[in-house]
Subunit: 335 residues, 2 copies
């Protein structure tokens, strides 16, 4: 802190603080001669604007918050980049908080963001978020956009991807290739995204006159090893299964491992579709066919919506659902 204030500059330029302030904000009409003088004084003194004071006086803030549960996940890294870009475009600053999936820390962060007067926030809530969390958010009445995880609370704007449709597209792809015995592998029991994907999966099966087997729908951790583990049991007991939709790409990678262990070659003896289009998907052999959910775009759209809310847009609650895209590679057969 250099400590140079408006008053110092004013004295130096031989004007009032009001004048300096107006020069800084380009408000009011000031003769170009005094403007010159002020500008010169500003420069000579190495003045640095005190946003904190301005925020207090204006009862506003130039900061928005982003609450994530795992910044380490490349998907959220992408999303953050998209949002960050939008935030910059609006000359705001981004406050980042990482709940690491703890409801307690999440609440702490949001409280902190509120104390810091953020003008809005983007949230990907932890899985076990209590209703009280959303309530406290509403009470303060600060613009907040939920992202990625569906069904947080219907009163909030939401930006995410169409899990249902994504799973439908993935499933139909397998169906059209002639597969009839298809499993769904991965995701945790209490995941809303997973519920939607399973919905897309089963609905499409039914559309083709196929009754979904609930024993062919497996949960797993979000890791390759656990994907491999759960697939092992399923595929040894049900060798007639010829394809699977996986909840995540990483799970699909695990399934690939298991297939090879069982002497079956993915892409030839078995068809596999993943979800997320992570980098590795294009890398493995055979390259993984997957549903892409455009993480960066989610961030960008969330920012766009947030700023429109900040600027007073009071249309009814919005749900922006980005269309997923099937990225066809090699894991369902080469042609």
């Amino acid at each position: 802190m250099t400590g140079v204030t408006l008053a110092d500059v004013a004295k130096r330029a031989g004007v009032s603080t009001a004048t300096v302030s107006m020069v800084l904000c380009n408000k009011g009409r000031i003769s170009s001669s005094t403007r010159e003088r002020v500008l010169k004084a500003l420069d000579e003194l190495g003045y640095v604007y005190n946003q904190t004071a301005a925020n207090l006086r204006n009862r506003s803030s130039n900061q928005v918050g982003l609450l994530l549960h795992d910044i380490t996940n490349p998907f959220y890294g992408e999303m953050t980049a998209g949002l960050s870009h939008e935030v910059e475009r609006h000359d705001r600053l981004l406050l980042l908080a990482n709940s690491e999936e703890s409801a307690e820390r999440q609440q702490k962060f949001v409280d902190s963001l509120m104390r810091n007067n953020v003008c809005g926030m983007v949230l990907c809530a932890a899985r076990e978020t209590p209703q009280s969390f959303f309530d406290s958010l509403k009470r303060r009445n600060i613009p907040a956009i939920m992202v990625v995880r569906p069904l947080s609370d219907p009163d909030f704007d939401f930006v995410g991807t169409d899990n249902f449709l994504g799973a439908q597209v993935a499933t139909e792809h397998l169906l059209k290739l002639g597969h009839r015995r298809i499993a769904f592998i991965g995701g945790s029991q209490n995941s809303g995204s997973r519920a939607q994907r399973i919905g897309g999966f089963t609905s499409k099966l039914l559309e083709y006159g196929i009754t979904p087997h609930s024993e062919w729908i497996l949960t797993s951790q979000a890791s390759q090893s656990d994907g491999a583990r759960v697939a092992q049991a399923l595929l040894t007991q049900n060798p007639l299964i010829t394809a699977a939709v996986c909840y995540q790409d990483i799970v699909a990678l695990g399934v690939m491992q298991t297939l090879r262990k069982l002497g079956r070659e993915p892409g030839r003896d078995f068809a596999l579709v993943g979800f997320d289009d992570i980098t590795e998907a294009g890398l493995v052999q055979p390259a993984l066919t997957t549903v892409s959910v455009a993480a960066k775009e989610i961030g960008r759209k969330a920012g766009e919506l947030l700023f429109s809310r900040i600027q007073g847009n009071d249309e009814p609650v919005k749900r922006i659902i980005l269309p997923p895209a099937l990225v066809v590679r090699e894991s369902c057969g080469f042609r």
Copy 2:
């Protein structure tokens, strides 16, 4: 903004604002009876502390800035998580800015962070950062820690990894496995980290009596596809090369692709070591042997040092160099 202030609470509780303030900060001695009353009023009114006002009054701030050039890069995601954790431990908030490698935007961000009065910052400066950037930072005299990219400006604290040693360890690993024709793939021409890694690479070759071929040292973008591209030319023209140290894991992943395209199986016909130990490294097949630079730890250490500076530690400039660790997986052969 609910708009409830200290004064409102004070009135309600029948005390002065000073008392309320003291209750909030746990300062001064206040009878437990009035404390009760204040706490009750606080709660009833749904008071929310105004950090902005406090910051102004205290001539301080509870925010630290983090300037990155690519939040999308998993390495920086990890680092951010480490720093974020440390920031939380100190009850501060983290302002994130993404320069996308533009010196101009970077300067804009830092100016903005300064106007917002951050109490400190962690910086991974853009590659083409002009000296004026560092000068403006020094002028304001705000604690700043440089990370990852070496040699920014000797007057700043630095936290990074030992690139030289890391590359030596990686190279020696290949050498001990019997490889004698080893390439170095990746990194951009003007990268300081890369220069250090090449130093480790060549010095170790020389130690084993091998003369480094400059044509076997390639630059590439930090992407899988470019890694694949540059490897293609090298490996078709020099089929006798049996191993490579890659500047980054992502580049190594690209090289894997190329190898397969050329009918060579990584881990069997060719040995590969990466750098960074990103999540994908453990996921691909064969899993990538790599030099871990403990991204999270860099973030944590940077935070630790930053807060010690903020608290007044005025020891001479520090350079914290974290030891790299070779993570042996499968890409140099299974055993």
